[in-house]
């Protein structure tokens, strides 16, 4: 296996991990599929650019590795056989390979512009509000591939009162829970809060539809009302119910400004359970 290189050493760990039984089962599979190959697509020449193959082994199953270098893609190369070729544009295709056999006809990888996005750092994670709690409602259930829908009864087209909500995953050490309903898309470039309730006991696991537990403090929403109202200006809207678990109590007063409280909440870096819901009129 001359072509087994450092680049594939990762796969060797899978092989080592496989038990004898699995190996035997796979061997049965090999016997079963032997002679079942063929029938694959063989492309035709399309007349685009040929990516440089300098240093690469000849096409058609050569086992000789070529020069090691990375393509200009941001992906690490370094494996024998990877060439210094700069990939052609996405739109361009390849000609036949040097040995005359049918060659790649599909598009080539495009060198991306700009730097690679960075994964969240541990510091960011530590300061972020982490969406790792579960927030659900028997009234907001996704069906098939469609997003979960909010029934009209929970909007100004109905009773305009909140649905039952239940949750799980509140971290230990949580001092207080706060519930919000917000428009996903801002209104006039500002976050629009439809409902905000603070002061919820962290031991709670649910609220009933239209009822709030003792100690709950209701804030003033985007409509200027101390309470709940989901009332899209148009044919519909997408809303986000959010349950924040706060590591410290923020002690808001009755009728607090919902937007201001949310800013404070994001500053204390807690956890959140999020439940998107779509409401469409008619």
């Amino acid at each position: 296996m001359a072509q087994r290189t450092g680049a594939i050493s990762f796969l060797a760990s899978f092989a080592k991990a496989a038990s004898v039984r699995v190996f035997l089962a796979l061997a049965v599979g090999v016997i079963a599929v032997s002679g079942c190959g063929g029938g694959s697509f063989s492309s035709t020449d399309t007349g685009g650019e040929v990516a440089s193959r300098a240093g690469a082994g000849p096409a058609g199953g050569s086992k000789t590795p070529g020069t090691s270098a990375s393509p200009a893609t941001g992906l690490t190369g370094g494996s024998p056989g990877e060439t210094a070729a700069k990939p052609a544009s996405r739109a361009s295709n390849s000609k036949a390979t040097q040995n005359g056999s049918a060659a790649k006809s599909g598009p080539h990888i495009t060198p991306p512009k700009g730097p690679t996005e960075e994964a969240p750092t541990p510091e960011q994670v530590a300061h972020a509000t982490v969406a790792d709690m579960t927030l659900e409602s028997p009234a907001i259930i996704a069906s098939g591939g469609s997003p979960a829908r909010l029934a009209a009864t929970y909007t100004c087209d109905g009773q305009d009162s909140w649905p039952a909500l239940h949750w799980a995953g509140v971290p230990t050490g949580t001092a207080e829970l706060a519930l919000f309903a917000m428009n996903v898309q801002p209104v006039e470039e500002r976050l629009f809060v439809d409902w905000a309730v603070a002061g919820l006991n962290p031991g709670l696991g649910e609220i009933k539809a239209g009822e709030l537990p003792k100690g709950a403090i209701v804030g003033t929403n985007g409509f200027g009302k101390a309470g709940y109202s989901i009332c899209p200006s148009g044919a519909g809207e997408i809303y986000m119910f959010a349950l924040y678990a706060l590591p410290q109590s923020l002690l808001p007063s009755k009728g607090f400004d919902a937007r201001e409280l949310r800013k404070e909440i994001l500053g204390v870096s807690g956890n959140v359970g999020l439940l998107p819901a779509v409401y469409e009129r008619g």
């Binding site: 087994r4 680049a7 594939i8 990762f10 796979l26 049965v28 599979g29 079963a32 599929v33 032997s34 694959s40 697509f41 063989s42 492309s43 040929v50 990516a51 096409a59 058609g60 199953g61 590795p65 893609t73 941001g74 992906l75 494996s79 056989g81 990877e82 060439t83 390979t97 049918a102 790649k104 599909g106 598009p107 080539h108 990888i109 495009t110 991306p112 512009k113 700009g114 730097p115 690679t116 996005e117 994964a119 969240p120 960011q124 300061h127 972020a128 509000t129 982490v130 969406a131 790792d132 927030l135 997003p147 996903v184 801002p186 470039e189 500002r190 976050l191 986000m240 999020l274 439940l275």
Partner: protein
Amino acid sequence: MRTKATAIGAALAALAVLCAMFATSASAAPAWKFEGKSLEGTEVVMGGAIESSMTIPGLTTKCEDFLYKLTVENSAGTGKGSLTEVPLYNCTTNSKACTVGTIGAEKLPWPTHLTTVSTTPYIIIEGVKVAIYYEGEECVLGETLVTVTGSAGGSIDNAAETATFNSSTLSASKTELKALSQKIEWNGLFPTEAFQWHREQALSVS
């Protein structure tokens, strides 16, 4: 003695059933091919999404470039692979209030395998985990870390040498990606291109 014979008989019957199952699944599973020939050993396949976006209801996150590096091999006649790198570039959202602070694939490598769904070859990616940290004071997900997890199945077009991921392919392959406890949409069209031993060769699966 009779018990022992019965046990051996049962074991043989079970083995026969297992063999039949493996034979069926193996014959149904496609393999990686270059120039129509089954890949021997391994190959590095790379590609970049021509378009790729992910939608949490109401908020679409789009990356201008979404590359991948996949080490592939045929194991027992079935195409397998290991997605080792998934660099993302220029990611934005469809909301003016929300920016993508950071985004990255986690828990790599992600295992992959080929399968057939209604005569169409599919690649299944398992163990997907992408962390996204959104920013924006007026953003509903501002200063929030959202993680996308699950598996994704994409249909492979041998003629175009591309893999397509969308809600139909995820559904057809019985895979799903989830964020916020809900199924989310992921759309992407990924060209496939060998970068090691089979550069410039036609890549197909069958």
